[in-house]
Symmetry: C2
Subunit: 447 residues, 2 copies
């Protein structure tokens, strides 16, 4: 149990609609929002009213959706989106995903530090290794083997951090009386030469209010934990059960310890994708309406999750599983969401409603009134499964406000969530220690 502490929240921002792929056509949503920076700013401001620590923008460099009926899931371009938001918000952190494989360290270091200065110390970089061959093809390449990608990731992050520190904290004299602009002795090249990337520097950007951007990470597996353990202050998790989340968090904390850091320096965020309504039925109906197009295609997938591939089909959409089906159903070991799916099926819901429970969505979906979501978050947090959540909203247009107006006050009443921002920078919001340049505790990556 994590007593006395409070959870930290991040808000997922993507395509301008919401995290359900048919949110673009929901009532009250402008279907042109994919290109609307006004909409993104509005959602960011709503999350800021809820005192969220940060916005999290995923990024996939070769997102391939079938766009016939579903929208893309990511924003046009995360840095431009966050630049717009930076100017029109005051406190919320701004975390964009950037690939270590398909960016030059100098370019990524420069843009993120510029965003950090622009936002007065609120930028974070979710450094991902990118494993998608479709993304690689957009750069005329193939995906390199994992060891190479992770080696390059270590080098890219270290070079970026070194560049961030290359303009010394007090190098900028700017004294109009004496005429001294800067102290060149405090602005020095970094001269880092890795196996895959290199940079001379310096990067001519003075420190932001938080010094330099915060590193986030979202990779899984041993390599991912190792990377996060060394550099990350926040980790975006993909977990479906408390047990799994606790294990991932522990692995991450252990990796931080191995890197010589205090494990509390790395916060682990579990995903949550609430379905909120005045009643459970209303919460389900909101999802049913959204799922209208996608639902039939998902029935075979649900069948596979329940080990019923042959018998589950679309004709049964508005009926519950038969007693015969329930008797033989079992959770597929290949999908961590299967246990929950079977649980819901056993409660007797129709197949349409089982799917409306979000059992094959990307995150756990508490379904019902706001207190169901608050309960879910409390349970996970108190079980030590996470340090907070990244919240994915079905339809941003009204859903962020609902979360902020209904769930946030419950968490506050229960003492689980802050009443207001205590600091002004992303580092403050995360409780991340000060850092400028490389972390002296982190050894260079094994060569």
């Amino acid at each position: 149990m994590t007593t006395g502490k409070q959870m930290i929240l991040g808000m997922h921002l993507g395509n301008g609609y919401g995290s359900q792929s048919s949110a673009w056509r929901a009532p009250g949503v402008d279907p042109a929002n994919y290109t609307s920076f006004d909409a993104q700013v509005r959602y960011a401001q709503a999350a800021e009213r809820g005192k969220f620590a940060f916005l999290f923008l995923p990024d996939f460099l070769g997102e391939q959706a079938d766009l016939t009926r579903e929208s893309l899931m990511i924003t046009l371009e995360p840095m431009m989106t966050l630049a717009a938001i930076a100017r029109e918000t005051k406190r919320i952190g701004l975390v964009a995903t950037g690939s270590t494989t398909f960016n030059e360290p100098f370019n990524i270091a420069r843009q993120f530090k510029a965003l950090d200065v622009m936002s007065h110390g609120r930028a974070g970089w979710n450094a991902v290794t990118t494993s998608d061959p479709v993304a690689a093809a957009n750069y005329g390449r193939a995906i390199a083997p994992r060891p190479e990608r992770y080696q390059r990731a270590h080098e890219t992050i270290q070079i970026a951090q070194a560049l961030w520190g290359s303009w010394g904290r007090d190098a900028w004299v700017k004294d109009t009386k004496t005429g001294y602009f800067a102290d060149p002795a405090k602005i020095q090249p970094v001269n880092l030469q890795g196996e895959y990337v290199a940079s001379r520097g310096p990067l001519s950007i003075p420190p932001s209010e938080q010094g330099q951007p915060v590193i986030f990470s979202a990779g899984g597996g041993g390599n991912g934990a190792e990377l996060a353990g060394r550099y990350a202050s926040g980790v975006i998790g993909a977990v479906f059960t408390i047990e799994d989340s606790r294990n991932q968090r522990e692995a991450l904390r252990e990796a931080a310890r191995r890197a010589g850091r205090d494990p509390d320096e790395v916060k682990f965020f579990a995903g949550v994708m609430p379905a909120i309504g005045a009643t459970k039925r209303e919460a389900l109906d909101r999802r049913v309406a959204l799922g209208e197009l996608a639902t039939p295609a998902r029935v075979p997938y649900l069948g596979a999750m329940l080990n019923l591939p042959a018998t589950l089909n679309v004709s049964q959409l508005d009926e519950p599983l038969t007693p015969a089906q329930l008797a033989v159903a079992s959770p597929s070991p290949f999908d961590p969401r299967s246990v929950r799916a079977l649980e819901v099926a056993r409660e007797g819901w129709t197949i349409r409603d089982i799917l409306a429970h979000g059992v094959i969505d990307y995150h756990p979906t508490p379904v019902g009134t706001a207190s169901v979501t608050a309960d879910h978050m409390q349970e996970w947090f108190e079980a030590g499964a996470c340090d907070g959540f990244w919240v994915s909203i079905d339809i941003n247009e009204d859903g962020i406000d609902t979360f902020v107006e209904e769930v946030v006050p419950l968490l506050q009443e229960r003492g689980l969530y802050h009443e207001d921002y205590e600091g002004t920078t992303l580092r403050d919001h995360l409780g991340a220690p000060a850092q400028y340049g490389l972390d002296p505790r982190i050894a260079a990556p094994a060569e």
Copy 2:
């Protein structure tokens, strides 16, 4: 003579201070403006009040100034700066410099098209080849030979343009009634494979109000003209005399003709860096005050320009050239600014005042009341030297307003400059033809 036409103006934006390297310490200037996005937005809005067609942001990836007493000359990062400005201006075009050598085509295409959408059709990309070894070192590389850099530039621009067109103009159905989001048949890969760069695509960004960003170019020489002739709608020139400017403009127009384009599609912008005061003495005094620190170091340079290296020295700073010096002075053939320098010297100004005439600045400097600047611009424009100017202001804080309030009305009275924006996009402001995707008239670069 270019009759009936009106000149087009661009405003140079750099470091947040102005184009004189000691502007950071001028009275009324906040010396912290290098990191102030508020200041950049304020200057952009001032230029917009003057109905400028575009802002032009140079970029050097390894800017190396001696920062002891002089500031950097460029913004922290041009895309972030323009993103901020995009949200807080309405009409002015936004042209950022981006290297074709040190950017991936997919990344640059994506960011510029996102900026274009964000600004409702006002983005331009000044595509430069980057020849500076210090810049290359920031990417762990050496500068490649010119043919390779230009081949890569052709490939990068073509891939970017193809990606811009890869989301078909009418691919985005977004019909909430039928549930069709997009027509995938109209969103197709580009599959371009160059010698140095390649991309598959598509790029998932719908058209902006101007379709796609406009290409600018700033390179000189035959390779530069060839690149600009094929792709550019605007060329940022560096010229010191009407004759030189006319020649460069003609070479550019000829290159456009060779590429199968109408030469009027490419606008050539000469630089101008006005020194404006209520009297000529006041205009000079503003420059004298700014030059306080830099002036002594410039005396030997002036000596070399006048072929007087041995006799011209700092002790003579507040005296004019002696008759003996004037008798033997001649313009150095190695610096196109020397003719003007000698002309000013012969007028009898002190060496301090000769330098205050801007004779070794980066652009021609008309010195005196606003009408002197207006006369200069009229003379160049009517001589067919250029299609307009990119204006560099000594101190942005008050200098942009001065230009807008004093020079602009004179140009308008003379019928040389528009009273207001006629269109809403950068393409409108430049009179550039519609384009989406590759220009079908431009053949692939010679392979």
